[in-house]
């Protein structure tokens, strides 16, 4: 009777041991899944972020012979946390040093102050045969629109930056741009397209939303 229990015990222990041995192999199999197949797009593989994280997306689509596509998805919070860790050249503690706030004899800070206090309106409107330029403040956004008509192939650039982001950018001390504060202000904004560039062979988009996947 005792021998039967002993045999049973040995068998049970062996089975449990084998199961334990196979457990890490399962982990191994999971962690060695191959690289993504070419047929799968990034959007298909990625999962949608369920949290309220804000994501900055950059997409470049080139329609030239190479047909290059670039997709970058960065959580703003990650950038906010990582930037202060960078201490190199002009970047320290999430701030970038500029030699002086006078760039080409333009006092940037004074210019920003002036734009902030000004009512909505068009500041610059240029219409010529070569290009159209429009700089305006509209619904608390600074908008720059350039349409280049020089070539037969037109190119169009539109930049739309919330004023709060510009304020935050210039909120640091003199001769400094506060990148972290700007990112923080940006994260408080709703879904918005910040930059759009279109020409005959390239489309560039920079936008902000709550998804960790591109369209």
């Amino acid at each position: 009777m005792l021998d039967r229990y002993k045999t049973l015990f040995v068998k049970t222990t062996l089975i449990a041991g084998t199961a334990l041995l196979l457990l890490p192999l399962g982990t191994l199999a999971q962690s060695t899944s191959g690289p993504p197949s070419a047929g799968q797009s990034g959007s298909e593989r990625a999962t949608t972020s369920a949290s309220k994280d804000r994501w900055l997306h950059v997409r470049v689509i080139s329609s030239d012979a190479k047909g290059e596509t670039v997709r970058v998805n960065v959580p703003l919070e990650l950038a906010e946390k990582v930037l202060p860790a960078i201490h190199q050249d002009r970047i320290h503690d999430g701030k970038v040093k500029i030699d002086n706030a006078h760039v080409n004899d333009v006092d940037l800070r004074a210019l920003v102050d002036a734009i902030r206090t000004t009512k909505d309106g068009e500041f610059v409107t240029v219409q010529s045969n070569d290009c159209d330029v429009r700089v305006a403040k509209q619904s608390n956004h600074l908008i720059v629109h350039v349409l280049d008509k020089q070539n037969s192939k037109k190119s169009e650039v539109e930049v739309k930056v919330p004023m709060k982001v510009i304020d935050a950018l210039f909120s640091a001390g003199k001769d400094e741009l506060d990148l972290v504060a700007a990112l923080h202000a940006l994260s408080a904004q709703g879904d918005t397209e910040l930059v759009s560039v279109k020409d005959h062979e390239n489309i560039v988009r920079v936008w902000l939303d709550s998804k960790n996947v591109t369209d």
Partner: protein, 145 residues
Amino acid sequence: MILLAKAALTVGGTLVLAGAYTMREGVIRIDVDEYRAGGSHVHMWVPAAAVPMALHFVPDKHMRHVSHDACQAMPILHAIVKELKKYPDTEFVEVDDHDQHVRIRTQGGRLQIDVDAPDQKVHVLCPLSTIEDVAIQIEQHGPAA
């Protein structure tokens, strides 16, 4: 006979436990193939948990040297990995040329870097927790530590 079974069980059990402990964080996989004359072909699978353990056996002077060389990069790497662990599986960078593909993404708590080009293929898969452990250990040997 019973003594032999006990000994086998002890050895087997120890091996199982050691295997389970070593493999608990998966593996680090590095595949590099250079398609040219004399090109490198590196295929390496290392248990992820073994790397931070192995670092404990690296002489202090070598760790200090590494830490000194990487003193600027380590806090950045540490911050990136710490943050990446908070996010779901994501494709952070994807570049598709007609014959070149680069992907940097996280998948199941692992950082995956894939480079496919006509002249070389590089695939790296490493658990984020391992990168964090290594970054912490290297930082600990830094001048500020």
